[in-house]
């Protein structure tokens, strides 16, 4: 994707929660700068309380930045028009429980000033797409968590948005649901949409995201293409099926003969998880510092050292 059009941008985004008297209470986000380009799936990673949801809420104008700018499609916080092209699936599906699935979509459709015919068409298509056709007349309060999640997704897509914000899209879903959600996200990208999602389920992120930003305690710790981040240049992974013991021994010898050391041989762990844990550990040991991996090819990126004070 490379140097595509920037659709989401955070510039020195800072969020400080104040108490009643205007005194600082919590610094939820500190000088975050990042960009998301059109057509990519961008993941915000971090443990609970790291600031990833805060970032999304700042981008959506649900929270007001203490300083810095949060731009979506080049528009700032108080420009409501940007929402015409944005879809948002919150952490849990915050929907009106006294409405049915159809009424829910009808309601959100009206908010986009859609005509009656268009509302009908869109909502019918989306209900079909998220597989709730059998429950279209039932009230949302009777829905299971997974169903509520799906109708939540449907409302996020009611306006056929250009940018979709997904807050923990797979939380509360069973493995099949998770798979379907991931497929849907990839499908959206295929249609040219930009997706910004945040999650603490690393496997999901690794599966679908093009680029990620890893946050911890309100600070950006790592930022870049997933493939780059996870690629460790001096590490070779060998995977084979039906290898005999003697063959394994020979491989060991070859490695030893090459002057290298065999670190392990077996099933590889989820490496994003590794990276993530390392960052967290490092960050706790040296708070306030950008994670510097032992990598030779450090990529220059716009958010590199902006928070070094």
């Amino acid at each position: 994707m490379g140097a595509g059009e920037v659709v989401v941008e955070a510039r020195n985004l800072t969020k400080i929660y104040r108490d009643f008297w205007g005194r600082k209470k919590v610094e939820a986000l500190r000088s975050l700068s990042m960009t998301v380009e059109r057509g990519e799936i961008f993941g915000l990673l971090g443990p609970n309380g790291s600031g990833k949801t805060t970032t999304i809420k700042l981008l959506l104008g649900l929270l007001f930045p203490t300083s810095g700018d949060a731009l979506v499609l080049g528009k700032g916080a108080d420009d409501v028009n940007k929402f015409e092209k944005i879809g948002y699936l919150p952490e849990e599906s915050y929907l009106y429980k006294f409405l049915s699935a159809e009424e829910t979509l009808e309601f959100y459709g009206r908010l986009f000033n859609m005509s009656r015919a268009e509302r009908r068409r869109r909502s019918a298509a989306l209900i079909e797409q998220v597989g709730l056709n059998h429950a279209r007349k039932r009230l949302v309060k009777e829905y299971s968590k997974g169903m509520a999640r799906r109708i939540g997704l449907a409302q996020a897509l009611i306006n056929d948005p250009e940018v979709v914000f997904l807050d923990e899209p797979t939380s509360g879903l069973d493995p099949i649901g998770t798979r379907e959600m991931k497929d849907l996200i990839l499908d959206l990208r295929a249609k040219g949409k930009t997706i910004v999602m945040c999650s603490h389920l690393l496997a999901d992120v690794q599966d679908v995201c093009d680029r990620v930003a890893i946050l911890h305690q309100g600070e950006l710790k790592e930022y870049g293409r997933v493939s780059d981040l996870l690629e460790i240049q001096d590490l070779t992974e060998v995977r084979a099926r039906g290898l005999s013991d003697s063959a394994k021994e020979r491989i060991r010898e070859i490695i030893a003969g090459d002057g290298a050391t065999l670190e392990s041989m077996g099933h590889p762990s989820t490496t994003l998880e590794d990276l993530f844990l390392r960052i967290v550990r490092e960050s706790q040991a040296h708070p306030g510092r950008r994670y510097l991996p032992e990598r030779s090819s450090e990529k220059a990126d716009p958010a590199s050292v902006s928070d070094q004070r």
Binding site: G61, V80, P90, Y94, Y96, L99, Y108, L111, N113
Partner: protein, 551 residues
Amino acid sequence: MTIEQEFPDLTQWPVLQGALAYWGQTLLILVLLGLGVASFRDIIIRFQDTLSSRGFMAAMVGLPIAILGGILGTVRSLAVGLLEIVALPLGIRRVWAIARLAIQESIRRRVLYVLLLFLVPFLFAGWYLPKAEEGQLLYLVGFTNTTIGWLLLPMVLFVVGMSIPNDLKSRTIQTVVTKPIRRIEFIVGRVLGFMIVFTIVILVMGGVSLAYIYYQVSDQVLRDQWTARVPVYAKVEDPNSSPFYFIKQGVAGLAGTNVGREWNYRSHIEGDTPDEVRWFFTFNPKQFAGVDRTKVGMTFDVFKTTKGNPTRDEDESSGVWASLDFIDLQNPQNKFDRAFRVNNNRLTEITIPTSVLSSGQVLVRAQCVTRNQYIGMAKHDLFLLAREQSFEWNFIKGLITLWLKMLFLTSVAVSASTVLNGFVTVIFTIGAYVVGLVHNFLMEVAGGKILGGGPIESLVRLVTQMNQQADIEQGFIRSVINIFDPILTRFLAAVGAVVPDLSTIETAEYVASGFDIPSWLMMRNALLVVGYVIPVIIVGYFLFRGRETAA
């Protein structure tokens, strides 16, 4: 029917124009005031930020920039806000979506069950019903109005007041405000939706009430009182002269003899003297055309200085008598006079030949005939009965007043709930309502017109059971009173200035006494409430816009 306070006739365009201009000015002042407050807050925050991050010196140096930034930021925000308000009609579909949502919420949350609750008091109402014909209608109209009002009040408070806070709490608001909806559309939609629900509730309750009243009252009441009289009151075109005055010992004045009645609504004239009362009527004579005789209604007070002649009712010589002269001012020869026994404080109707009214300019002179007795009169105590409206329509007009009250409550509750949590909103709205109802008293306290002093002084007197007139000795308590009472009364005056006087919009009495609610009163009430509700909604909008919708 007594009218203690007259309002300018807002149905006349020049009067309305003046009122609107005044309203616009007030609104402008409000906007400027809001601008000032918001800028100040912004500046303080900017200053504090620099102070905490870069130290005192930098903050002081940066102060002018902070001030400029604060003002500019606020002006910009205000401009954006005003643009959104102006653009409200464009988002009518979104407003309707929110309104629909509020209606659906009310229905699905079983709010309409309050209609069943409403029926309960009706089971008991008949027990209190006065046997006398005179009190029945008054009692029933008062009862139904009060019942509807008091049942709607908690409904409005809890349904409306809790609505936005519930949205915030359940975070459903997050999926709504991330759609291209303006906050003003959100607030207006809410108010609209709830008002539609309340309109239905009021209509149903009103219909039930009307039917109930109809079947409760006796046949005689239905015959005599089931009406809405449209009176023509004394009026002159010249704004500098009074259409009603007394002539006491040959001197004209706005008051007659003070007989020492506590209620000074009426002034009296002495019997068997040349003293008289005059009403000037200027009206369109067409409204009386087509009939031979026209009804004249009057309510006079009798003040007795002697016991009178204790003989039978039938005896012509007993009772206090008054004489009325109707004189056509265009043609003084065209006149009519009549003497009649005054019915103490009760509406009496006599008929006069319509020919007297043919020119549209009539003088009515009243004198008391009975020696040593007085009769008391006020401007609205004598009227020409132009026509009669149906009681039902008048009843509905009475419901409109109730509706306006609900609009006031709903708007205040919605606006308050954008920044306050649900429970506080309920308390706040009740507070505003109560202040509105006791507005008169509040302003009297604030103006020092009530015996017993300000709040603290009154409290001291209450607790120590001290007379209102007695002086409080110099000392600690006196000093506390001297320091805090002026502050508190000023605070009360401020509160009173912000909340409208809701007691003056009451119209139930017109309905109950069988008088058509005058159009100028309806207009005035509507303008009072709507003129108040608009700024309230705008304030609510700005507060809501300045509020983060996620925690």
